[in-house]
C-alpha cells in the first residue's frame, strides 16, 4: 500500500529509539496543545508553563526530583517484571502495602532509635509489598490466573485495606476522628540530604546499582533477563521459570513497597489515604518508555515526574484540569508504541530490491 512495503529488519534498530521518543513527545505535546486550545487556553504558553513548571527553575527541579523518587522505584520493579513478560500492573497496590508495612513497623516499634527503626521500616515495607506481589504470582503459577486482572484487583483491595486501617485501629486519637495515623516519631522520618531532597534519593541510587549488578553479573539475573525472551524455551532448558516469576513479582512488590515507605515517611510523615496518587500506573509508562533499561528508567522517571509537576503549574496558571497529565502520559506511550514499529521494521519502496 502507498507504494511502500514493510520489511522486517534483520537487527532491531538501537540508536533510533531515543529519536522516536522525541518525535513521540513532540506529537503528544502538539495534540495536548490542541486540547488546550479547545478549552480556549493559549497553546504555546501552556506548553511553556508546563516545561518551566517541571524544569524551569531550581525549585521546580527539586520538586521534580522529589517526585521522581517513588516513580523510579516503582518503575524499576515493573520493568523487571515486564522483561519477563509478567504483566504486573499492581505497583499501585504494592505501593500501598509498603506504606502499610512501614506504618505497622512504626506503630509497633516506634520507641526504637532511628538507626534501628528505619531499617525495620524498610524491611517491613519490602515484605508487605513483596507479599502483595507474590499472591498474584502464585495464583498465576498454580491456577493460571491472568496476572493482569489479579494485580489490578489487588490494587483496589490494597487501597481499601489501607483505608480500613487508617479509619479504624490505626487512627490517631488526637486527630478528631480524621483518618490518619499519628505523626511518625522523628526516628521514623527520613532525613534531608540537601535542600529539600531526602535520603530516599540515596536509596534509589543504591537500589539501581545493586539491581544493575544483579541483572548483569549474576547467573540468576542473567536468567531473568533471558527468561523473558522466550518462556517456553526457558522451561525446556530447565531454568527455574516458576521461581523466576515469583522472584520478579516479589522484587517488584518490594520495590514498590519501598516507594510507599519513603513517601509515607519523608513526604507525609504519617499514613493517610491521600498517599495514593497513581505512581503505580505512571511506573508502567516509564518502564515501557525506557525499554526496561535501568539508566533510561532514571531519565524517564525524572521526565514524567517533571510532567506531573508541570501540570500542577498549568492548573494554577491556566486553570487546566488536573487530568491533563494523564492525557500527555497516555499519548506519549501510545505514540512511542507506534514508533517502536520502526525499530523492527523498515519501509522499502515497492518494486525495488529488498
Amino acid at each position: 500500500m502507498l507504494g511502500y512495503r514493510v520489511v522486517k529488519r534483520q537487527e532491531p534498530l538501537e540508536w533510533g529509539s531515543f529519536f522516536i521518543f522525541l518525535l513521540a513527545l513532540a506529537f503528544s505535546l502538539s495534540v495536548s496543545g490542541l486540547l488546550l486550545a479547545i478549552q480556549g487556553k493559549p497553546f504555546a504558553e501552556g506548553i511553556l508553563i508546563l516545561w518551566r513548571g517541571g524544569f524551569g527553575s531550581f525549585v521546580a527541579l527539586e520538586d521534580t526530583l522529589l517526585k521522581s523518587i517513588p516513580i523510579f522505584l516503582c518503575s524499576l520493579g515493573v520493568a523487571v517484571a515486564f522483561r519477563m513478560q509478567v504483566w504486573n500492573i499492581g505497583a499501585e497496590g504494592q505501593f500501598a502495602l509498603g506504606a502499610v508495612g512501614a506504618t505497622w513497623a512504626v506503630m509497633t516499634f516506634g520507641g526504637l532509635p532511628g538507626w534501628l527503626l528505619m531499617p525495620v521500616m524498610f524491611l517491613c515495607a519490602a515484605l508487605a509489598g513483596a507479599a502483595w506481589g507474590l499472591i498474584p504470582a502464585v495464583l498465576r503459577l498454580r491456577f493460571g490466573l491472568n496476572e493482569i486482572i489479579s494485580t489490578l484487583m489487588f490494587n483496589y483491595i490494597g487501597i481499601l485495606l489501607l483505608q480500613y486501617l487508617v479509619f479504624g485501629s490505626w487512627k490517631d486519637p488526637t486527630s478528631f476522628g480524621f483518618p490518619m495515623t499519628p505523626i511518625f516519631p522523628d526516628g521514623a522520618i527520613i532525613g534531608r540530604l540537601f535542600g529539600r531532597i531526602h535520603w530516599g534519593l540515596v536509596v534509589c541510587v543504591g537500589v539501581a546499582v545493586l539491581l544493575g549488578v544483579f541483572l548483569r553479573r549474576t547467573r540468576l539475573g542473567f536468567e531473568l533477563l533471558a527468561g523473558g525472551e522466550n518462556p517456553r524455551a526457558a522451561r525446556y532448558a530447565r531454568m527455574p521459570y516458576d521461581f523466576l516469576v515469583l522472584l520478579v513479582m516479589g522484587l517488584c512488590g518490594a520495590l514498590a513497597g519501598w516507594a510507599g515507605c519513603i513517601e509515607t515517611s519523608a513526604t507525609l510523615n504519617r499514613l493517610q489515604p491521600s498517599i495514593m496518587v497513581g505512581y503505580g500506573y505512571t511506573a508502567i509508562v516509564v518502564a515501557w518508555l525506557s525499554r526496561l533499561r535501568i539508566s533510561s528508567i532514571a531519565f524517564f522517571a525524572f521526565l514524567l515526574a517533571g510532567l506531573r509537576v508541570g501540570v500542577e503549574n498549568l492548573q494554577l496558571d491556566l486553570q487546566v484540569p488536573a487530568a491533563f497529565g494523564g492525557i500527555i502520559e497516555g499519548l506519549i506511550l501510545l505514540s512511542v508504541l507506534a514508533g517502536q514499529f520502526f525499530d523492527s521494521y523498515a519501509l522499502r519502496r515497492r518494486g525495488g530490491d529488498a
Partner: protein, 306 residues
C-alpha cells in the same frame, strides 16, 4: 435478609450489571477476533462523557447513545492503529489507552460537572412488567437495559450462525488459516475493534444517561476492568457474560443494602467484595479448565507481509 429485600436487590443487580454487560460483550467481541484491548476503562468513560455531552447539547438520549458508540469505537480504532498497523504490544497499548481515555474524559468533562440533564427513565414494559417476581426484577427498567437483553442472543447468533461470525472466530483462532481461506484477518480485527469499542462506549453511556443523569470524573470507577475480567470468566461466551455481569451488579448493590439494613461490618471491607469476588470467580473458572476457551491467537499481532 427478608424476602422483601431480595427482589429489590435482584432488580438493582440487573441495573448495576447492565453497563458491565455492555462492556463485557464489547470486549468479548474484540477478543474473539484475537485482539486484547485493555483500554476498556478508558473507552467506557469516554462513552460516559460523550453521551452526557451529546445529551446536553441535543436533548435526545438516543443520539447520545449513538455518539457514545461512535466515540468508543473511535478509541478502539486508536488501539487498532497502534497494534494492527504498528505492531505495538497489545497489553501496553491497552493500558496506555486507558490512561489516555480516562485523562481525556476528565479533562474535557471538568467544565460539565454539575450540569443537569434528563436521559432515560425507567418504565414498565407492557405485559412483562406485571409478572409477579420476574417483572420487577427484569422488566421495569429503562430502555438501555431492555436493549441489553437482546444483545447476548444476537451475539450468539452472530458468532455461531453467520458467515461474518465464522470469519471473526477464525481470525481469533488462526489468522494465517483464515487468510488462506480468503478472509482478511486484519480487516476483521479492525471491524471487531470498532464494534467492540462501540458496545463498550454504550456501556459507559448507560452510567450518565440512565443510571444517573449526572457526570463526574472517574465515574466508571473500575467497571471497565471488571468487564475485562468477566470476559475471561465467561469463557468468551455471551451466556456466562450475562451471569457474570449481574453477579457483579448484585455484589455492588448488595454491600450497600447490607449497610442499609444495619449490618456492622466495616464498609471498607464490604467495598472489597466486588474485587475479591472477581478474583474468586476467575479462580473458579481457571480451576475448571486453564484458560479454556481463549482464542488461540489472542494478543498476538499479525505480522505484516509484503
Amino acid at each position: 435478609m427478608t424476602i422483601e429485600m431480595v427482589i429489590p436487590v435482584l432488580a438493582a443487580a440487573v441495573q448495576c450489571g447492565t453497563p458491565i454487560l455492555y462492556a463485557t460483550l464489547g470486549e468479548m467481541l474484540t477478543e474473539r477476533a484475537g485482539v486484547l484491548n485493555l483500554g476498556v476503562e478508558g473507552m467506557m468513560i469516554i462513552g460516559t462523557f460523550t453521551a452526557f455531552l451529546a445529551l446536553h447539547l441535543t436533548g435526545d438520549p438516543w443520539i447520545a447513545v449513538v455518539v457514545a458508540a461512535l466515540c468508543g469505537g473511535a478509541l478502539g480504532l486508536v488501539h487498532g492503529i497502534v497494534c494492527l498497523v504498528f505492531q505495538g504490544n497489545q497489553v501496553v497499548s491497552g493500558l496506555a489507552l486507558t490512561i489516555f481515555g480516562v485523562g481525556l474524559a476528565d479533562y474535557l468533562g471538568t467544565p460539565f460537572v454539575g450540569t443537569v440533564t434528563t436521559g432515560f427513565t425507567p418504565f414498565s414494559l407492557p405485559v412483562l412488567g406485571d409478572i409477579p417476581v420476574l417483572g420487577e426484577v427484569f422488566f421495569r427498567h429503562d430502555a438501555l437495559v431492555n436493549l441489553s437483553y437482546v444483545l447476548p442472543p444476537l451475539f450468539w447468533l452472530f458468532l455461531a450462525r453467520t458467515r461474518w461470525g465464522l470469519a471473526l472466530r477464525a481470525t481469533g483462532e488462526h489468522p494465517a488459516a483464515a487468510a488462506a481461506a480468503g478472509i482478511n484477518p486484519v480487516l476483521v480485527r479492525w471491524a471487531a475493534l470498532f464494534a467492540g469499542g462501540a458496545l463498550v462506549g454504550i456501556g459507559g453511556a448507560y452510567l450518565s444517561l440512565a443510571y444517573t443523569h449526572l457526570w463526574t470524573n472517574n465515574m466508571t470507577a473500575g467497571r471497565g476492568w471488571i468487564a475485562v475480567a468477566l470476559v475471561i470468566f465467561a469463557f468468551w461466551r455471551p451466556g456466562r457474560a450475562v451471569l457474570g455481569a449481574y453477579l457483579f451488579g448484585g455484589v455492588m448493590a448488595f454491600q450497600l443494602r447490607l449497610q442499609a439494613m444495619g449490618a456492622s461490618v466495616p464498609s471498607s471491607l464490604l467495598l472489597m467484595l466486588p474485587y475479591a469476588l472477581t478474583i474468586g470467580v476467575l479462580l473458579f473458572s481457571s480451576a475448571r479448565g486453564k484458560g479454556r476457551g481463549a482464542p488461540a491467537a489472542l494478543g498476538v499481532n499479525i505480522e505484516p507481509k509484503d
